[in-house]
């Protein structure tokens, strides 16, 4: 395995640009780490052959225009009341973009100081998907947000049969407010390596939506690290479907407690797809709050994995956390693995968790059918209802995208 990674590293273009030192360090780390193995708990269930497949892809070399016009996708026009940035893993993301008031680009020493800070706080260093991105990414969208700014839409494109490394760093200042929607598009065989870092200052409020729609053999490897100061509020709503290999890793740390975190995820898998969601929520101060809901739908011979870690050390007294994992199996051959991992040391806390795995309920089906609705339509209605709960939480920008219709395409028999 190590040699596979080493071979791959030697074939990469030489480190260059603003992120050159990071690329260099990332490659060194990967050379040490090699490829993940099934002996590692976090990768125990992963189809490693598909992961190795990522290493055979050429790096992205498409331009903005083609990412935005990615033919197979229905990309709506730019948001009227918001602004859009396009990432293609290759070009300067801010070329031709006029930043709205309150938004400025981080560069030079500022960037050097901020980049990687949150990753370190979240314990993300030496994490394979992170170092993978480090070794590749040559561009970073790095922004400072002050006050209340218009909603931001980030289009993350990846062209057919290529690997697109993208990176975002957002520093959301004290009391600032941001709504951000990241939309991942992938042509067949395309792969994303995405690294997202965000720091929320005191009383900052961020609503973060992720819509990740793959197709064909596409792959998604995304790590989201978020650091919250006291009295900040962060909502992350992720909706994913259509990835042959998917891994989404939201890591949130409340550095001094007293912050509010909402994590809602929906993952749909079909055919032979495999998607893993690994969330980590860490409370490092008192009176933090978490409301987490993870929903999956598994059809065909697909495999959906959820690992939800919640860390409540002694310093995190009076934490109030709730995690619920709800899973729907649409086929006898699909597989769902769900695992809450609660590590609670503090004694004065409320931490609830639960997990359910069900099939479409016979009574619900019969009720709809007894009203003249065909069983196919009834199943589709029930499925839509199941997904709606998470989709409704996406930022309003998402209403311009046919999220739910895309999600259910092909699953509605």
């Amino acid at each position: 395995m190590v040699s596979t990674a080493t071979d791959w590293l030697t074939r990469l273009p030489a480190p260059a640009g603003a992120l050159e030192p990071i690329q260099r360090r990332g490659r060194e780390a990967l050379a040490q780490l090699g490829l993940p193995t099934r002996r590692q708990e976090d990768w125990r269930l992963t189809d490693l052959t598909r992961l190795q497949g990522l290493l055979t892809l050429p790096l992205a070399a498409l331009d903005h225009a083609s990412a935005e016009a990615a033919s197979a996708q229905n990309v709506p026009g730019r948001p009227e009341n918001g602004w859009r940035v396009v990432l293609d893993g290759h070009s300067d993301p801010l070329a031709g973009v006029t930043l709205p008031e309150g938004v400025s680009e981080l560069s030079g020493s500022e960037l050097k100081q901020a980049l990687g800070h949150t990753l370190a706080r979240c314990g993300s260093a030496h994490h394979w998907p992170v170092e993978f991105n480090h070794s590749l990414a040559s561009q970073v969208l790095a922004l400072r947000i002050r006050g209340s700014v218009p909603p931001l839409e980030v289009l993350v494109g990846a062209a057919e049969a290529s690997l697109s490394p993208t990176r975002i760093l957002l520093v959301v200042e004290e009391k600032a407010e941001l709504e951000i929607l990241e939309v991942f598009l992938a042509d067949s065989g395309a792969a994303h390596s995405h690294l997202f870092e965000m720091h929320l200052g005191q009383e900052a409020r961020v609503r973060h939506g992720v819509v990740a729609q793959g197709s064909g053999d596409s792959a998604l490897m995304a790590h989201l690290a978020v650091e919250q100061e006291p009295r900040s509020s962060y909502e992350l709503i992720t909706v994913s479907r259509g990835w042959a290999l998917g891994r989404l890793e939201p890591q949130v740390v409340q550095v001094d407690g007293q912050a509010s975190t909402v994590l809602k995820g929906l993952v749909l898998t079909a055919d032979e797809q495999q998607f893993a969601t690994h969330t980590t929520m860490r409370f490092e101060g008192e009176e933090g709050e978490l409301d987490q809901l993870q929903k999956t739908v598994a059809a065909g011979r697909s495999h959906s994995i959820f690992n939800g870690a919640v860390n409540v050390p002694r310093a995190a007294q009076r934490t109030n956390a709730a995690q619920l994992s709800r899973n729907l199996l649409l086929s006898d051959r699909a597989r769902i693995d769900t695992k809450p991992e609660l590590e609670i040391v503090a004694d004065d806390v409320r931490c609830a968790h639960g997990a359910t795995v069900t099939q479409l309920q016979e009574e619900e089906m019969f009720y709809l059918r007894s009203r003249g609705i065909s069983s196919a339509r009834a199943a589709a209605l029930l499925l839509r209802g199941y997904c709606q709960e998470v989709v409704d939480g996406l930022p309003p920008l998402a209403q311009r995208w046919p999220v739910i219709d895309h999600l259910l395409e092909g699953l509605e028999r």
Binding site: E363, E364, L368, R369, S370, S375, L381, R384
Partner: protein, 264 residues
């Protein structure tokens, strides 16, 4: 309204059915003509709810013998959705909650399935909205319930009103109302019964499945059937319900015991 020459809508002959290999219906015979209101009474476990589910086509119930003809055709070979589209309606004893599915959308899809069968034009969102608001008056229902998920968080009375609203929209030929009175206070019972009365016409028929006589104070049946051990034990007019209320079901038990008509 009894008219011997009215169309025979439902013809149940020696119907046997079981659930999980347990026989529940042991030879039900019943004929329902257009314009008639029938009440089927009986203790819990007598088979009356099973009868309603078998008629609606619940997949958990297996018909093991006998026949049911609906307007001359074999009802039992049809899927539940086909029965509904052809005009068979089951009002549920426990209407099912369906989170995430809007009540309005559910009602629209359901009505259009029936309308299509009837050769009527399907209604789009706007036309259906007008149509449903007009029908709400049948059960004095608050329009706010249209915007919520199907039956989710509805009180018992609201769920039953929602059932009768569906009946009003589907315009069924035979309505089977399973314990529609259960869990209702007297005001809600009057509203629901008033809705059923408004919807009764000389062309359709209603089968009321009930445990208590009080529903029959509000809806006057033409026939009352007493069910026990999976069969109809006795049929009479309204006075049979009144007699049951006075004497209770004890005589039914005795009759079942003496004739050996218990569950096989």
């Amino acid at each position: 309204m009894i008219r011997p020459d009215a169309e025979l809508l439902l013809d149940i002959n020696d119907l046997h059915a079981s659930v999980e290999a347990q026989p529940i219906l042991n030879g039900v015979n019943l004929q329902v003509r257009a314009g008639e209101i029938h009440a089927v009474m009986g203790r819990n476990g007598s088979g009356k709810s099973t009868l309603s589910k078998v008629l609606a086509g619940h997949p958990a119930y297996r018909v093991t013998g006998g026949s049911v003809r609906y307007r001359g055709s074999d009802l039992l070979e049809l899927e539940p959705e086909e029965r509904s589209r052809l005009g068979v309606f089951l009002g549920f004893q426990y209407p099912v909650e369906i989170p995430g599915v809007s009540n309005l959308e559910f009602l629209r899809v359901s009505s259009n399935a029936r309308r299509q069968q009837q050769g009527l034009e399907e209604l789009d969102t706007f036309d259906f909205d007008d149509h449903v608001r007009e029908r709400l008056s049948v059960v004095q229902m608050d329009p706010a319930f249209l915007e919520r998920s199907v039956n989710e968080g509805f009180s018992g009375g609201e769920k039953k009103r929602n059932e009768i609203l569906q009946m009003a929209l589907l315009n069924p030929v035979v309505s089977i109302l399973d314990e529609t009175d259960s869990g209702l206070d007297i005001d809600a019972l009057r509203i629901v019964a008033g809705g059923v009365n408004q919807l009764a016409t000389p062309e359709n028929a209603t089968l009321l499945i009930t445990h208590y006589q009080r529903l029959l104070d509000e809806i006057t049946p033409d026939y009352v059937h007493v069910m026990a051990a999976g069969r109809i034990l006795r049929t009479g007019g309204r006075e049979l319900a009144l007699e049951l209320e006075k004497t209770g079901y004890d005589w039914v038990d005795e009759e079942v015991a003496s004739t050996g008509q218990g569950v096989a």
